[in-house]
Symmetry: C2
Subunit: 198 residues, 2 copies
């Protein structure tokens, strides 16, 4: 059926490349676009192209920044430049920013080491991070709590072992607001092992 | 943070309107677009605009058709025009087409009656369907098995009660390949009630 409507088929093919669009929803998203007014399609494309033209990655920390502005972190005098928080992607950076409790700067790795997906340390921004290390006091490894995240932390720590920089990781423990009953065993175990004085 | 990058914020706002993009994934999709090459962005927008320009809805059955071609169903001589299968959306039409077992034509309702969402019969293509009824032998109501779908079927059946057209609905029962153990009670009940001779 669809093969008789080549422009529909082409739209599906293009949408297929968008991550987090389950193939089950592809048709719905495609018809959503077709149901738009020409002005809305125009607006959508303009927003996409504009963002694409205006945003670049900071050459130092790899966070997104506006092309005509300086990096919001690296050139922010209110930030503490002696502390670098290393995150996997921009999304984790935003999650940490939302806490409002971190005043240091960042380093976006752009992924994690994942041999299964063919991602080695050379595909990440680890070299850039190592180059930044001499000037700083502390590097916080804020990777996600996954095997890949932990392996990446271990790799980075190894790369930094000959520097004097202090390396720290996020605390593991029971999430705020949770019942012990519903928290997984390993988390409870770690919370116990890393218990602190009241 | 994001408010300092207006073009990023605008992209998020535009993406928010796309259905089936969970807000949790918005940032990831946005960065996917930013990571594209300018050519890929261009290609994406072109596919979108092209599909939008080339595809229209058939004025009779409301299925998508190419602007420069005739409707694949209404103008297809190999189809049986005396049987109309009524579906909620284009996706259900494709699901039925995939079976390869239906040779009649279609009528796309463009939704279901849903008072909670403010969708009444006047928002659907029911009037168009009723106008088509005199010429046909059978109308199959192939709505999804939801309260809204069933209410819509009931409404349409009521609208057609003064015509001589035969109205049918999809069979309810145990899905092919399923174990009774894992099928919900109501489905098993309906399968029992509508049992047929072997």
């Amino acid at each position: 059926m669809i093969e008789k409507l080549p422009s529909f088929q082409h739209l599906l093919k293009i949408l297929q490349k968008v991550p987090y669009l389950a193939s089950k929803n592809l048709y719905r998203v495609a018809t959503h676009f077709l149901d738009m007014s020409p002005e809305q399609v125009e607006q959508f494309c303009r927003a996409l192209q504009l963002a694409h033209q205006r945003l670049i990655k900071c050459p130092q920390c790899c966070a997104w920044q506006a092309k005509d502005q300086k990096c919001l972190f690296c050139f922010n005098e209110k930030r503490e430049h002696a502390i670098i928080c290393v995150v996997e992607t921009w999304q984790e950076l935003l999650a940490i920013e939302k806490t409002g409790g971190y005043k240091g700067v960042y380093h976006v790795l752009e992924g994690v080491i994942s041999p299964l997906e063919g991602i080695g340390p050379e595909h990440l921004t680890i070299k850039l991070l190592v180059a930044r290390a001499p000037g700083v006091r502390e590097i916080i490894l804020a990777m996600n709590q996954t095997p890949e995240g932990e392996a990446t932390s271990a790799y980075i720590a190894h790369q930094l072992q000959h520097t004097s920089v202090k390396i720290s990781v996020l605390a593991q423990g029971v999430p705020v607001g949770s019942s012990l009953e519903f928290v997984d065993r390993l988390t409870v175990y770690k919370a116990l092992a890393e218990r602190r004085p009241f």
